[in-house]
């Protein structure tokens, strides 16, 4: 177990096998409360696979704990309800619903109790949570819009808001800044800081090194499914192994 009582998300020996390919190989990471942790690595390193495994979308071995609760045999939707939320590389918003309704899906669980509630009085409590999540990403004005009326950047922010709404403990962001320009990306980093300051731990996966090195407290580097380095951003960026993974190793005669 981790010695740090602050740890929210803890994975141990997460391995994912796709046919003959070992896409994740015994990955162990930790994310603490109000902490932004980066996960970087070259294309195909297994970063998205890791997010899929942790959130219940890829069969895996190893253990996942959220605040001491074992999650590895819990289905995806339960993990979300327990506070482990994720976003997708493409926004993946529900196209038929407005931005606010997209968030509402995460707040009101459907089911038999939901049926009774739908037939009876409307629930108002959810609206405050939705407004709060939208204001954290600066999309209050877009609540009534449909996803296809939003720019790509805003669609991604709406996806982040959907993952934030409710009692999210740890947020896994899969390339949230891909497709954003430098300015938008910097703005996004700023918002990420605000989000983390409001409590949840964040695992940030991105190619934008400036963003990752700027906002993250700690960084993990993944290559060929393994964590090859970790530490403070400044340490990691000068690590020889990391440079090799990103730029290739020098040719040895």
């Amino acid at each position: 177990m981790s010695g740090d009582p602050n740890t929210l998300l803890l994975t141990r020996d997460i391995s994912v096998q796709y046919g003959g390919v070992r896409a994740n190989d015994e990955v162990c990471i930790e994310v603490g409360a109000a902490e932004i942790v980066g996960l970087i690595g070259p294309n195909g390193a297994g970063k998205t696979t890791f997010v899929d495994a942790v959130t219940g979308f890829a069969p895996h071995t190893g253990t996942i704990e959220l605040d001491g609760v074992r999650l590895d045999s819990v289905p995806a939707h339960r993990r979300r309800r327990l506070g482990l939320a994720r976003t997708w590389q493409s926004g993946e918003l529900f196209t038929d619903l407005t931005v606010a309704e997209n968030l509402a899906v995460s707040v009101d669980p459907p089911g038999l109790r939901g049926l009774v509630a739908d037939l009876g009085r409307r629930r108002k409590r959810a609206d405050e949570d939705i407004q709060e999540a939208l204001s954290l990403v600066g999309l209050e004005a877009m609540a009534g819009r449909r996803p296809d009326e939003l720019s790509l950047g805003r669609q991604k922010l709406a996806g982040v808001a959907r993952a934030l709404v409710g009692s999210t403990r740890v947020l896994l962001l899969d390339e949230p800044a891909a497709g954003l320009d430098t300015e938008e990306s910097a703005e996004f980093g700023h918002e990420l800081r605000r989000i983390a300051a409001s409590g949840p731990g964040v695992l940030l996966i991105d190619h934008d090194m400036t963003l990752v090195l700027d906002v993250c407290d700690r960084v993990y580097v993944m290559d060929f499914g393994k964590i090859i380095a970790s530490g403070a951003p400044s340490d990691v960026s000068s690590d020889a192994q990391v440079i090799a993974a990103y730029l290739g190793s020098p040719v040895t005669p």
Binding site: T55, G56, F57, A58, P59, P75, A76, H77, R78, R80, R81, A85, R86, W88, E92, L93, F94, T95, D96, L97, E101, N102, A104, V105, S106, D108, P109, P110, G111, L112, G114, L115, A117, D118, L119, R122, R123, D148, R162, A163, G166
Partner: protein, 668 residues
């Protein structure tokens, strides 16, 4: 043992039909991504064509007819012309319906192919009439084409024609498989299904390759059915049309990719059905399971195949999810709810006899169509089982009221809950399959329920399935009183029940349940990531839809005083889907339109009473369905898309928007 061999070989005749139809379905799917429910209907036309030619040389066309020669035509020219008619129908379906819809969402394609299926099926009795044929159509029989020689093998009598049929099926399957594997055109066709744009860049015309496949499969499907028709007997349009269901089952066994497996499974299925038929005559076979076993087998095969093969069945993930029919979340507005209800109440008072009866049928059908809106429009699960759920509830109602004597509101509730339980069972395959494949599983389920339950003599007493009249606190709500065909009380009871349920459905769809449905329809993975229990929501949708349909089935039962299986056939179910799609499958108001236009509803009465178009009802519904999906599509329409493509061709600088590729949902 000899008996088994003998019946296994007899089964080759239907088996050959399943095999070739199944191989054709796989071929079309590989070439175009379409699952063609109309494959049996295309072959049906071919059989009638040959019957007409061989009776007195009449070539019946969709419009008009031509006399070829002075008397009956010889066997082989007639067979060739008949098979060619299959080719022409198949090609027409491709050019007019499926080609314009090649980028449409799966619901549109399923609706379109069901539309083609109903259209041809309805056209045949209209066109092959006494006037065109010069004889009563009921006197036509499929004349033999193959040798009638038999020989004995180990004590079993074996007809040579059955072996020829099996050999023909295998030959056709080998030719189709060989085309895809060994010819450049075949390989290019497969490539075109994956990436049409890339194939175009390589100098092929995907349209022409697809057209070749449509034509070929139409020809071979027509041919095998013509050859098998004398052995499988009769010219009943419905049974030929429904040969597509076992064919779809074997195509799924071949994972929609293997022509050889589909062919082998088809022949085996034919044999198994015949052997089962033989075994049901044995004394040890339970009498309740004598009828409908043959139709239940395809459903079992589909379910088992889907579960064993699971995700191995190709999932065409490259559908543009955004192109689905847009949904407007309904809002309950008191005036807009009260006005139609009051208007309907006034209409009930003002009408009598048949008109009031049709009005009440329309009200009931609105409820059943609302179940289609909920399940297919909102939750995106294409289900063709709706009427079977309704019928199952009506069936349960009959047992509950006559055998057990359960009093009125409880009896209806229990009967609808029976349908709900059935709905959940039928919904289970939906947890692993989606889109058109789910439509296949549900139509197989509907057929199995129809033959195993509704048409099973062991479950129906000789007096019929009577249903006791409803009454509440001693106050009769019976449909008939004296000479009154339909009483005011009964009509108002129906109106109140349907209005209350529709208001409840609207509230559900505008609340968290509706949001969860739309989330699942739009993106299952993202829905799960947002905390929605996708399997539970799907089963909830099936449960709600079958409950609504079940109440509708009970009301239909009460309106007749007994359960008639004819009200709940697969065909009626398809007509309900058709009218709901035409009305607008994503809105409750669409359900109301569907109620008005549905089978035996108001529009039907208008057709029969005023302009004598009753015979054309199914044809008109099918044509409306096709027009709706191809021309006035609720998703981005085919006509605007066609214009876009034309514009893009003129100014190639603007490439058409690439389809947004989506990985198949993979939710634990």
């Amino acid at each position: 043992m000899n008996d088994l061999l003998q019946f296994a070989v007899i089964g080759f005749s239907t088996g050959a039909v399943y095999a070739v139809l199944g191989a054709s379905l796989v071929s079309i799917y590989v070439a175009t991504g379409v699952i063609n429910f109309a494959q049996g209907s295309v072959a049906l036309w071919a059989v009638w064509q040959v019957a007409g030619l061989r009776t007195n040389g009449v070539l019946v066309l969709p419009v008009g007819s031509v006399q070829l020669g002075s008397g009956p035509m010889d066997v082989w020219p007639a067979v060739l012309i008949g098979a060619a008619s299959g080719l022409v129908w198949s090609l027409l379906a491709h050019l007019l319906v499926f080609r314009p819809l090649r980028r449409a969402p799966e619901l549109g394609q399923v609706v379109a192919s069901v539309g083609v299926m109903l259209f041809i099926q309805a056209l045949i009795p209209l066109r092959f009439n006494a006037k065109a044929l010069g004889t009563e159509p009921s006197s036509l029989i499929p004349l033999p084409t193959l040798t009638s020689k038999v020989f004995t093998l180990g004590g079993a009598t074996i007809a040579v024609s059955n072996l020829i049929l099996a050999a023909a099926a295998i030959g056709i399957a080998l030719a189709l498989a060989g085309y895809f594997r060994f010819t450049r055109m075949g390989v290019a066709t497969r490539a075109g299904a994956e990436d049409e744009q890339a194939l175009r860049l390589m100098g092929y015309s995907p349209d022409r390759l697809a057209a070749f496949m449509w034509g070929t499969t139409g020809f071979v499907s027509g041919l095998i059915v013509i050859l098998a028709a004398p052995a499988i007997g009769g010219l009943d349009p419905t049974s030929y049309m429904l040969y597509v269901v076992p064919a779809l089952a074997v195509a799924l066994v071949g994972r929609l990719t293997s022509i050889g497996v589909a062919c082998g499974a088809g022949l085996a299925l034919g044999s198994v059905q015949q052997i089962l038929l033989f075994l049901t005559t044995k004394s040890w076979w339970p009498s309740w399971a004598q009828a409908g076993v043959g139709d239940a087998v395809p459903f079992v095969i589909v379910v088992v195949a889907l579960f064993l093969l699971g995700r191995g069945i190709p999932e065409r993930g490259a559908r543009d999810a955004g192109a689905q029919a847009p949904v407007q979340v309904p809002r309950l507005r008191p005036l807009w709810t009260a006005a139609p209800v009051a208007g309907t109440a006034v209409a009930i008072v003002l009408t009598t006899g048949q008109w009031r009866f049709s009005l009440v049928m329309s009200i009931i059908l609105t409820l059943i169509a609302a179940s289609v809106v909920l399940l297919t429009g909102y939750l995106g699960q294409i289900s063709l089982t709706t009427m079977a759920f309704a019928g199952a509830a009506g069936f349960a109602l009959s047992k509950l009221t006559t055998n057990v004597g359960v009093p009125f509101p409880l009896s209806m509730l229990l009967a609808a809950l029976t349908a709900t339980a059935l709905g959940i069972v039928v919904g289970v395959p939906a947890l692993r399959i989606r889109g058109a494949q789910l439509a296949v599983a549900t139509i197989a389920a509907a057929l199995a329920i129809e033959s195993f339950v509704f048409n099973n003599p062991a479950m129906t007493p000789y007096t019929g399935n009577l249903i006791a009249d409803p009454s509440l606190f001693g106050f009769s709500l019976a449909v008939r009183e004296g000479t009154d065909l339909i009483t005011l009380r009964f009509s108002f009871m129906v109106l109140v029940i349907v209005a209350v349920l529709l208001i409840a459905v609207t509230r559900l769809l505008s609340g968290a349940t509706g949001r969860a449905f739309l989330a699942v329809r739009s993106n299952e993975r993202a829905a799960a990531a947002a905390g929605v229990n996708v399997p539970a929501v799907k089963l909830l949708g099936f449960a709600l839809a079958s409950f609504l349909a079940g109440i509708g089935g009970c009301l239909i039962g009460y309106s007749r005083g007994q359960l008639s299986a004819a009200s709940f056939t697969v065909l009626v179910g398809l007509a309900v889907l058709a009218t709901t799609y035409v009305g607008d499958i994503t809105r409750i108001s669409g359900a109301i339109l569907a109620g008005i236009a549905g089978p035996l509803g108001l529009l039907y009465l208008v057709f029969t009473q005023t302009i004598d178009l009753g015979h054309y009802y199914t044809l008109i519904v099918a044509a409306a369905m096709l027009l709706r999906v191809v021309v006035f599509s609720p998703h981005r329409g085919a006509v605007p898309e066609w214009l876009l493509v034309r514009r893009a061709r003129r100014s190639p600088a603007q490439p058409p928007a690439a389809a947004h590729a989506k990985e198949p949902a993979d939710v634990r």
